[in-house]
Symmetry: C2
Subunit: 208 residues, 2 copies
């Protein structure tokens, strides 16, 4: 028996599936056997959608978000406010922020965060292109929407300094209590920040 699965094709599919993050060999086998039980069209459709997605999706030349065209649908949407740019770590964060329906401007995807321990420096990220965008276009506000981590804060600070010479307002996401979380279980640092950054109660229901 050459293959432990009695089929080199099954073995190959299991090997490919288990390259995916969080998919071990056992799960990969379960997925492959599931596909073998289902209609052949289902496997074909899955396989083709993966290949097509990877082939045709590239990155927007403006904001570096994923895009099927040179310019992504957000950058080319005339209804979006082109004076506000929200800086995010990655493509997933664009999807997450879009789902809130609270940001009506454009995005700028850095492609990561500054992390000396992982060997990621500013030049590995889309920071220069952000500075150029702000310098060349009529951008009035840059919203830093990075994770509240050491890497996020480092990157925030680096971008803030890089933009300091330019006439642009740099804001960042508020840090405070999570909605629905009890005060008792909020960590001290977050609670401390939420006291420092307290807001006028009247502002909280005026939609500001």
């Amino acid at each position: 028996m050459e293959s432990q699965f009695n089929s080199t094709l099954l073995e190959k599919a299991v090997a490919e599936l288990s390259k995916l993050p969080g998919i071990g060999k056992k799960t990969a086998l379960r997925l492959a056997l599931h596909l073998l039980r289902r209609d052949p069209e289902e496997a074909k459709s899955l396989g083709e959608s993966i290949i097509e997605m990877r082939e045709k999706i590239s990155y927007c030349q403006e904001c570096h978000n994923i895009s099927e065209e040179e310019k992504c649908p957000i950058c080319s949407d005339p209804r979006r406010d082109k004076s506000t740019v929200c800086v995010v770590e990655n493509v997933k964060d664009v999807i997450t922020i879009e789902a809130t329906h609270q940001h009506h401007g454009l995005y700028h995807v850095l492609g990561g965060l500054i992390s000396p321990l992982d060997g990621i420096g500013p030049s590995d990220l889309e920071i220069e292109s952000l500075v150029n965008r702000v310098a060349e276009e009529k951008i009035e506000e840059v919203i830093l929407a990075l994770s509240p981590t050491i890497e996020g804060d480092t990157t925030n600070f680096y971008i803030y300094r890089k933009l300091s010479e330019l006439p642009v307002k740099v804001t960042m996401l508020a840090r405070g209590l999570s909605l629905g979380n009890e005060l008792e279980y909020t960590d001290e640092l977050t609670l401390g920040k939420s006291i420092q950054n307290r807001i006028l109660f009247s502002d909280s229901y005026s939609g500001k």
Copy 2:
């Protein structure tokens, strides 16, 4: 924005991935974005292996295990003992038993277990073909290797009765203590069975 993911191709791939068992929409998105970050060859290789596997793997006409040929590698292997047939529920069980290296005979894959509650009767399973195989070929022993559940026991009993007219020895997997599990934590039914089916100590190290 037509697509919440800013790309209908990404949306399609996420939809296809989330059809897989145990893969929700969030995981599917994570997998798709992972593939977008990797080399295009990786997505191509994954997609093609899924399509090829589903297209080319069918079932062995003898034992109903998966096979790329009419007869699976186990059925066509001259070194396998053709007088012993191990009856299993599904393809995965063949892989599991093969991994023990303790069965040197052939297999017969039922494709499920009798389960009136799920509407699965004997005619939905490869039981008739098993009886025919035993009647027509020189099979001396049928090993019932089904799960020790109500469905497994029902199926065992049904097959046992169907084979009772034929000159074949019908055995089943031993039920008893799990290796490495403490006696204290073994359930009463299993412990009871292990007392009823106690074996000669001398047999346990003679490899019998």
